[in-house]
Point group: C2
Chain length 453, copies 2
Amino acid sequence: MRIQPLRIAISSARKFINMGALSRLLNLVKNFHAAEISSLMDHLTFREKRILFNVLLDKNKEKTGEVLSELDPEDASLILKELPLEQITDLFQITPPDDVASILDLLPEDMKESVLGAMEEKPSEDVKELLHYEEETAGRIMSPDFYALDQETNVSDSITAMQLEGDVESAFYLYVVDEKNHLTGVVSLRQVLFSPPNTPLKEIMNKDLISVHPETDQEEVARYVADYNLVAIPVVDSENTLVGVVTVDDVIDVIEEEATEDIYKMLSLDTTDRIQNNPLKSIKKRLPFLLFSLITASLAPFVIHYFEDTIKSFITLAVFMPLVAALGGIAGNQTIAIIVREIAIGQADWVGAKKALIKEILVGFGNGVILGAILSGVSYLLIKNPYLGLILGLSIIANLFIAALLGTLIPLFLKLIRLDPALGSVNLLTMCTDTIGFLTFLGLGTLFLSKLI
Amino acid sequence: MRIQPLRIAISSARKFINMGALSRLLNLVKNFHAAEISSLMDHLTFREKRILFNVLLDKNKEKTGEVLSELDPEDASLILKELPLEQITDLFQITPPDDVASILDLLPEDMKESVLGAMEEKPSEDVKELLHYEEETAGRIMSPDFYALDQETNVSDSITAMQLEGDVESAFYLYVVDEKNHLTGVVSLRQVLFSPPNTPLKEIMNKDLISVHPETDQEEVARYVADYNLVAIPVVDSENTLVGVVTVDDVIDVIEEEATEDIYKMLSLDTTDRIQNNPLKSIKKRLPFLLFSLITASLAPFVIHYFEDTIKSFITLAVFMPLVAALGGIAGNQTIAIIVREIAIGQADWVGAKKALIKEILVGFGNGVILGAILSGVSYLLIKNPYLGLILGLSIIANLFIAALLGTLIPLFLKLIRLDPALGSVNLLTMCTDTIGFLTFLGLGTLFLSKLI
């Protein structure tokens, strides 16, 4: 749906909901794809979302199931929570197990139990299986439905077997197993189509295949799919038995999620903070980061306090003080951005740390010299005090050097101690560049005070 | 390749290259997937990259072609530049046209011409076609190879036709066209496999298909593929004639690129700045942003300069001054992160701007009151001056309010004037929160000066 129609759809949907014109609302979304209805719902208030969802559920259960797997799991859980058990169970039976698992995980424990109990055995077992694995692992996002056949099966029998199995959502590959049910290869459906009917699968299969374990972190799974240009990746247990398949659409969600996480964590934001959250919820989510900032930002005042007498003797120092800190912060942010992102796409780690560090320090030093020289010159023209120019220039060089050093080390260190390399990194860096910036600038100011006044 | 083996591969490759043990180098990478060789090369210096590439080219041209499409186009162009024309042409003939186009675009104009002239007609035409379209559009990343058949063709003839056409890289769909060659539907290869041989394609095709134009921005293409869970999206011209297909592997690259761009632009970094660039190149790329920061950061000193007398009379103001600015900056960054990211995933625009603005302002005000109260209290305990506590608290509230207001408006405004919403946004915001923070705090300080001293 292009942006223009989406805007119209949003305002029409709102109007119909508020007028209580539910059949017109249904008419509006009748030809929408599930993804479009989900996009539309993202722009509605919770009350409006619930009304649209329930209207749809009354008329077209199947489409509602599709919408359910597209919705944000948190929204979905809030809407479902208010439905009778039977309706939830009905919907879950037609929703892919991995989506059911993420929604179910957000429902109250007793509700979760009763829903799982009320579902038919097969889907219920599938969901329970997925729930065994930790969040953000391959096990959580894999689909337990796939085509897998014995390697001795020939092409013609394979086609019949897959037909009997029925349509498997987004299946583009047929997995091949040996007599012990161990994964031995993969055949694309294109190969099946093009091969003579009596060829055994083992003769056309690709044995050089990449698989992951259910415990593998979803970010690593995404890395493999992205690097090897895959459309699906098989998940095998420790015995090499195929237990599921992660498809590329789930991988795209992971990649977008992780990119958002990088930005959010770098800029001190909770990863579940959303524009649609109500203000109280967002206040609660942001407050811990701000309190942490209050502590990190409280270091600088102590430094300044120590130099009160110097500042009092030459007040111009107070004027330029924040400039030194700001430039250090911005240069350090540049380094952090590059290091965090290169870690995320698998390009940076401790192996390459030394190289990256030397490079960043050279860049910081180089830019420090250029900015320092400019600022020295300009301040001399304005204030006519060569010593002020000198200490400004030197402080900028020192602070950009420190910014490069810490901008590289903070994310790499966070990664080393198994925290997210982005987590609060900009905040931590600002604390350092502020403190060290003030320290250098005011320290040099004290040293040269007799020349300044 | 897991991280451990990659580390070993890097150090072994380096050792073999420096020893000149080229056959051992070849042996090392012999069983590596092209993506693995490309990952390995990302960790080598340019000289080492070139040596590995040339060794590989000597022994296994086909694999070298695969590596070429995985490599960063800039690296690839630098390596190719030094090869004889014939070898470049040979390699380009076996590399997908979209990858050739991105590499070719980075070669000198005369070299580009001669390579295109020396290539065989079909691949050369394909590449020229792609080069017609602007960078970052569907036309640039689409593949001109796909299966397309007339809607009257039956399933059995379709299979024969596709077999004659040969293997098309990552083709999972068969596109269906009418007698005028207009795209009318799509059939998955799974459906082809499961349908009776004499069914015409038009009876099994899915008519409800999503397509894009060659001029469509690659980010919009990625949005469709992500939202509709597609594996490929057809590209049609203004007459609805199929001209190419964008596959999901290219979409993943776009999504990762755009996420990196968001982070980089937000934190004032050039999008082509890489950890492997040499320091001089990175200095050049970062300097414009830093010079811009020098200008934006120079606003605050003027404000402080204006209040010099106040600060001199009550020097404690200089001590707390940076704290007010820092907290405003951090809270504003939180807002910017959320707005930029929601714009990127298509959740925020001017339509929802009012709602987002009100929400962010409430959050900013709420957190301002809490942080302001804490800081008032703490400063009172430390300094025993109720008026200092009061103006600290009020300044924090004011600055967090402003941070929320501008943190929402800056990215939305940048988008409105068709700039990237992330571009330098953190920098612009810091300028505002610094300036306004100092202005409020020192202004209130001047107002209450008689009570402070």
